[in-house]
């Protein structure tokens, strides 16, 4: 796999249209595998609709210090998209006007946003119950200006959620880049040192596991036990929970699936593992995702496919929160990733 973003390689799949073609045609053409909307039909009132707005997920920008092979954002150092100060202010306004309980900051590496700390401090004052920062860990060591982030997170009572695809070096480095594992371990030690992941504090440090290849994640509880045992024994590292996340067949992971000739079988296994009981717990039922430029989406995955909310107001500048909940959720065949097996969300399995 290349260590550059699809965008910088001018790869065909950097176009959302090309990705959607894979998801709509091929094995999903008429007579092939059922479309997600059809599959849902037998189990739930369709189309799917959100039932509340509890989680606001902001994608602060696509810039990242890493270029992971599976990245659904196509993030990388070359990506310059960043949320403007005006849009950040609009997001704070939305929090003030609603009863949003969780603010989930993601990217790219959200910490690379020039107003990151200022924004986190402002949001923390608005009474958010759970202020999540999705940190890729290596950013904490990437530059002097990030070294004191663990302390900053602590002062703002940030909930840190970090990706660590495996508790061993080989698999982690193959997916996330050479040297990433040892840097991640060092970053986890620094977070532990200020109290993150320790049973005697309330500073939450959760890890995210996603399979390093074309297969579905195993049982979340069993993998959590394995991770805890290995990280404690090998590195004396503590963390709270492990979330298992299914890789979504979009962006760079889609590139991998196609190039390795795993696409069809992977999609078949997602469809086969369809679990209707995950349906009312998929993220889009209580989440709003905002792109760096202020456009709104049902989830971060729809954002990457540019499937904007199905509503007359699609931009945060125009949002009337109570009206926005009255919408249908845009689905395509990537949605099977959220309902396979025990289900998958940004907070791990759902059933």
């Amino acid at each position: 796999m290349s260590s550059k973003s699809l965008r910088s390689r001018s790869h065909r799949l950097s176009s959302t249209q090309a990705q959607l073609e894979w998801l709509e045609k091929g094995i999903f053409k008429p007579g092939g595998l059922p479309h997600f909307a059809t599959k849902v039909n037998g189990f739930q009132d369709t189309p799917l609709r959100p039932h509340s707005l509890d989680i606001l997920q902001l994608n602060l920008g696509y810039m990242c210090n890493q270029v992971c092979a599976h990245c659904h954002v196509d993030a990388g150092p070359d990506r310059k998209e960043m949320m403007s100060e005006t849009t950040l202010e609009k997001c704070l306004d939305l929090i003030r006007k609603t009863s949003i309980k969780t603010l989930d900051l993601t990217g790219g590496a959200p910490e690379m946003h020039p107003h990151f700390r200022e924004f986190v401090s402002q949001a923390a004052q608005l009474g958010i119950q759970d202020l999540i920062v999705r940190s890729n860990l290596t950013i904490l060591l990437a530059n002097k200006k990030y070294v004191d982030l663990p302390e900053f997170f602590k002062t703002q009572n940030v909930h840190v959620i970090s990706s660590l695809p495996f508790y061993k070096k080989d698999k982690t480095d193959r997916q996330r880049g050479s040297g990433v594992f040892l840097k991640s371990i060092e970053a986890l030690k620094r977070l532990n040192a200020v109290g993150y992941g320790k049973s005697e504090t309330n500073l939450k440090l959760d890890l995210v596991y996603n399979p390093s290849g074309a297969f579905l994640p195993g049982n979340q509880k069993s993998l959590e036990l394995e991770f805890k045992k290995a990280l404690k024994t090998d590195f004396d590292i503590d963390f709270n929970q492990l979330f298992t996340i299914t890789n979504m067949p979009i962006s760079r992971y889609l590139e991998f699936l196609i190039a390795s000739e795993n696409y069809e079988e992977y999609m078949e296994s997602l469809v086969e593992a369809f679990n209707p009981s995950a349906l009312d717990k998929v993220m889009c039922t209580n989440t709003l995702s905002v792109r760096w430029d202020g456009y709104m989406y049902d989830c971060d995955f729809n954002q990457m496919l540019d499937l904007k909310v199905d509503h007359t107001m699609q931009h945060i500048d125009d949002v009337i929160p109570e009206e926005l909940v009255q919408r249908n959720i845009c689905v395509s065949q990537h949605c099977y990733g959220c309902t396979a097996g025990s289900g998958s969300s940004c907070q791990g399995s759902v059933v």
Binding site: K168, G213, F215, G218, S222, E272
Partner: protein
């Protein structure tokens, strides 16, 4: 016959064996699922045993299924290969230990 004997898609049809004998099929799958639950042995250990046995009975479906099962469980490739060597050692040993029989017969019949 033009259809090859082993086809990877057939693995997905395994459950169809119940179609012609629902009662026995249901009993088999219930037993099968119970066997692989956490017990005195962990489900992870059982997965590795299944992988080794799959190589012994040389079932391509089982090898496919338990390699994927291992991947999902975070079993690493060196662990999988060690399990296959256990199968090979027992298989090879089972051939070799019959050499004793051969030696006995040879010695008895020879002057």
């Amino acid at each position: 016959m033009s259809r090859p004997y082993y086809q990877s898609q057939d693995l997905k049809k395994f459950k169809n064996i119940s179609d012609w004998s629902p009662e026995l099929g249901a009993k088999f799958f219930e037993y099968y699922n119970s066997v692989f639950e956490e017990g005195a042995l962990s489900a992870r250990e059982k997965s590795l045993i299944a992988l080794a046995v799959a190589h012994t009975v040389q079932c391509p479906y089982c090898i496919d299924a338990y390699t994927q099962d291992g991947l999902q469980r975070g079993i690493e490739r060196n662990e999988m290969m060690e399990a296959v060597h256990v199968a090979a050692a027992i298989r090879g040993g089972a051939s070799l230990v019959h050499g004793v029989q051969m030696m006995e017969v040879y010695d008895k019949r020879s002057m």
